[in-house]
Symmetry: C2
Subunit: 204 residues, 2 copies
């Protein structure tokens, strides 16, 4: 009986559990994504939640259908409710990373703009100028807040983690993401890192 995969819950009205906000169908996948977004291992999450790592593993593989109590405990490891968890939008996330050559260059008269992304206008954000000294780090506790963020690396190296995905950006590279995705900025180099960044809503 070891490896057989039960087709659990063949209830009549199992609606197509495809994209945006399934209800308890691909629950395991949801949990795994959420956990990775916060950069936790199964054991770390298990310790926070008060369950065992095996339970996390089994849930993520959809080998079991956790009880409400267990699921509540597990999600207790995150700042999210069961209802919000079930309605989380897992749709393929918008493009996050742009290579230097992917920036759209707008030349106008004496000045030259290099736009990040296509529809800058309906993103409604405001840019800033930042500098990270060597070793600078926004902290292990990921940032997560309302709004959107983007930026361009001017000089130095920027190590950026967004939604569990980590990239090393060099001058000319850029980023754009929703600030609700847990994120973290680090300067792993030995020289200052200069970034032209931006955030929304406009704070200055």
């Amino acid at each position: 009986m070891a490896g057989d995969f039960r087709r659990a819950h063949s209830s009549a009205q199992d609606a197509g559990a495809g994209g945006g906000e399934t209800d308890g169908q691909d629950l395991g996948v949801r949990l795994r994504e959420l956990r990775k977004m916060y950069g936790l291992s199964q054991r770390e999450l298990a310790k926070r939640a008060g369950v065992t790592n095996g339970t996390i593993s089994l849930i993520e593989q959809s080998r079991i259908s956790p009880s409400i109590g267990s699921l509540k405990k597990v999600l207790g490891g995150f700042p999210i409710s069961i209802a919000d968890f079930l309605t989380l939008d897992m749709s393929p996330r918008a493009k996050v990373f742009y290579q230097a050559k992917e920036l759209r260059e707008i030349a106008g008269g004496d000045v030259s703009f290099r736009l990040v992304g296509r529809d800058t206008r309906d993103r409604a954000i405001q840019m800033m100028h930042e500098r990270y000294v060597p070793g600078a780090d926004t902290g292990e506790e990921m940032l997560s807040h309302a709004g959107e963020e983007c930026g361009i690396v001017i000089s130095g190296v920027l190590e950026l983690t967004v939604g569990g995905e980590c990239r090393r950006l060099v001058p000319g590279d850029a980023y754009y993401f929703n600030s609700r995705l847990p994120h973290r900025f680090q300067n792993p180099g030995t020289v200052d890192c200069v970034v032209v960044s931006a955030c929304t809503p406009p704070s200055f």
Copy 2:
């Protein structure tokens, strides 16, 4: 081991599960209220949901913490998702039934208005005139839709079921409820029943 009540899931962060939209705490109470709103017995719901009546009973008594799969099956008996179920507002419902003497009378010149409820203005509804022949019945399949409804019985007898609560209204009596609550109109008498009713949003 028979009758002992386990204090299930004594997780640290069991926030106070008080009023409006608890998360999985008073899950049993929620289910019972929802079921009664739709006028179903435990066995009826069990049959629809594909579980046994005992399961429904145990869940409603909070003797067990159902698995996601089971809860999904059970809620399959209603037109509601797990997330919606968990965020259902179970706060003490607004006043539904009014006695004739409770109607606020507004006398103006030659005409006289008898208002149903206090804040008619922020309820934004539109009244209609209806007549139910003897035995008339909006059907066993409860009505449930967006908007709000209210009315006054002019003559005859109106049997009204709202959210599982059933009342027999006589001339002068009135009602007011949110149309999402499953409801049903019946004329149990032998003469026509005349009602001045109203609904929202304004359709005419």
